[in-house]
């Protein structure tokens, strides 16, 4: 940890970003190698490039890799979404969970579990439809929040307050459904809202990956608009930025990213809140370096969380959502306590 204090990464954001993605790669390798049938990193690499034993390849490519890819993109998506939202609202408490996107997805999922179950608690439609429902729930809720906070444009603070209110409303709805249903569904729903990437498969990854990458790239292309927005509405308008239009586009990107992430991984919390803070404390507030670094930190958080979820209590799965905070919060607190410079937020 000493090295993090000695090198000022705010001046070398590229090095920091490279380092964090090297760490991401390492964790991916370790995670791919561990489980009920441990594989050495060299075997993992061999299997990846089509060599190695047939058995290794099946374990790796059919079972472990989809999960790891899922964790990677879910973590990046949530972190970037949080970074955009915190930038737009200029509030350190803002996160995609806070303004109701996750709560809306949870509500849709609980609705799905109760409406499409028969009296024996068996689902009458395929579980494959669940992500679609979650995404619809997340998007609809985001649109409701935007519509309610629109009044000659969206003021960030009004957006946050109304988002919190709508989130509370959705949570209330979820609790009502859970209380009315049988305990089995309550437990199913709790697992979903905690967030887990158990049972990820390639078809899910092939939906998530292009979406997440596309939205992250667009947000990077909009870095100038984002940096200007962070200066405040007056200055942004003064330098000729179309404040409301840019803000709306960035908000849509942010909620879209959370939407696809929660659709597949459930309510994995704290990544969107913690990753941008960690990034800002290490590489500084400039949007492009911050967002990339956040993406790395987010991926790292979810990858480690999912790895622990898979390995620590095997054969029982403790949902990854439990571990993101367990991994991220202590490190974040450490950063908070040892920070020497002022600012950053």
């Amino acid at each position: 940890m000493k090295i993090f204090n000695r090198i000022d990464f705010t001046r070398h954001p590229v090095i920091a970003t490279v380092l964090v993605f090297v760490a991401v790669g390492t964790v991916m390798l370790i995670s791919a190698g561990s489980g009920e049938f441990p594989l050495s990193p060299s075997k993992v690499l061999a299997a990846l490039f089509g060599y190695g034993e047939e058995f290794d390849r099946i374990i790796l490519i059919d079972f472990r890799l989809p999960r790891i890819m899922m964790a990677l993109f879910v973590g990046m998506a949530l972190a970037v979404s949080g970074a955009i939202l915190q930038g737009i609202t200029k509030n350190p408490l803002a996160s995609p969970d806070l303004i109701g996107v996750t709560a809306g997805a949870s509500f849709a999922v609980v609705l799905f579990l109760t409406v499409f179950s028969d009296e024996n608690n068996a689902l009458i439609v395929s579980i494959q439809w669940l992500p679609l429902f979650a995404f619809l729930g997340a998007t609809l809720t985001a649109l409701i929040v935007f519509a309610l906070s629109w009044k000659n444009g969206i003021a960030p603070f009004r957006l946050l307050l109304i988002g919190i209110a709508v989130a509370a409303f959705m949570q209330a709805g979820t609790t009502i459904w859970i209380l009315m249903g049988p305990i089995y569904q309550a437990s199913q729903a709790t697992i979903w809202t905690t967030g887990s990437i158990y049972g990820a498969n390639w078809s899910q990854v092939s939906v998530l990956m292009p979406w997440a990458l596309l939205l992250i790239i667009i947000s990077l292309l909009l870095r100038r608009q984002m940096n200007i927005l962070e200066l405040g509405d007056d200055i942004a308008t003064g330098v000729g930025s179309m404040v409301q239009r840019n803000r709306m586009i960035l908000l849509l990107i942010s909620t879209g990213l959370t939407g696809v992430a929660v659709a597949f991984a459930g309510g994995i919390g704290f990544v969107g809140l913690l990753a941008p803070h960690i990034a800002r404390r290490i590489v500084g507030p400039k949007f492009q370096s911050m967002v990339l670094f956040s993406a790395g930190v987010g991926a790292l958080l979810v990858l480690i969380a999912d790895w622990i979820a898979r390995v620590a209590f095997a054969p029982i799965e403790v949902p990854a959502g439990v571990w993101t905070a367990a991994v991220g919060a202590p490190y974040f607190i450490f950063l908070l306590m040892t920070q020497r410079k002022k600012g950053g937020a």
Partner: protein
Amino acid sequence: MLHTNSKRGWGIAIGMTAILFLMGASLVYGYTDTTWRDAYLSFSNPSGSNEHLIIRDVRFPRSLIAAFVGACLGVSGAIMQSITRNPLSSPSILGVNAGASFFVVVGVVFLSVQSLQSYMWLSFAGASFAFLLVFLLSSAGREGLTPLKLTLAGSAITALFASFTQGLLVLNETALDQVLFWLAGSVANRPLDLLVSALPYMAIALTATFLRAKELNVLSIGDDVAVGLGQRTIWIKFFFGAGAVILAGCAVAVAGPIGFVGIIIPHLIRSLVGLDHRWILPYSAMGGAALLLLADIGGRYVLMPQELPVGVMTALIGVPFFIFVARRKLGI
């Protein structure tokens, strides 16, 4: 908006009357049909009939608990928003609810705790522990205790406790079944003893914070100015932080975690009485009490004969109203 002190004084009188009326209504309305006359008779001339028993032993504790818990949450939220200087703060942000829930779930899972009384002590211990942790962590380091660090440390600790709680509940379905209703927050079926054992702490914290509310006005100008005016900001922050946590801790100990009241009431109150904490605190107490009483009464009717937990109902009632005010009045 109430501009003059005499108007604000009258506002207090009207508010207290409204709360008394709501407490009365809480005795009268519900699944068992009773009248205001029954409510009066059950205290002046109890006959031991079913209706009288329900009013005295079930609804009376409930209305008192709703009023006090609501008041605590409102004041606690107002203080938290002021010391963290973040309008999104609420008792749950500094880890209070998360700490309390975690201790209760640990008690249920590992110590097979079952009685509401022990839930109460566990959750109070959890709330205080979480707050002390947040306070120590955020005052460490060279910058000292800034509102931002307090907020961030609070949300990190909240995240940590909440995730442990969720983990335990996922692993243990029986515990989930047992505490799910507690975790949703409710003022129903709580014996009066619970409130009685928490009441002294509530009373002390309410009085102490009301009496020194002026210091919050100084603090909210900014740390630098407050120091310049001779305020020892760290002690003031600890004093009000502890006060807010005792209030929120008592509330969660008696009724379980009830969100949302602490976050919206201060906003509504500030749009009514302005920025002077000597008025904000008492008005927040009244606002919280009124919202919780209303939510509790409403919760009896939505799914009759089943009852909705009051935590759910505060959101259902509070949200539309709050969105209306946020769009119309908050000047944002």
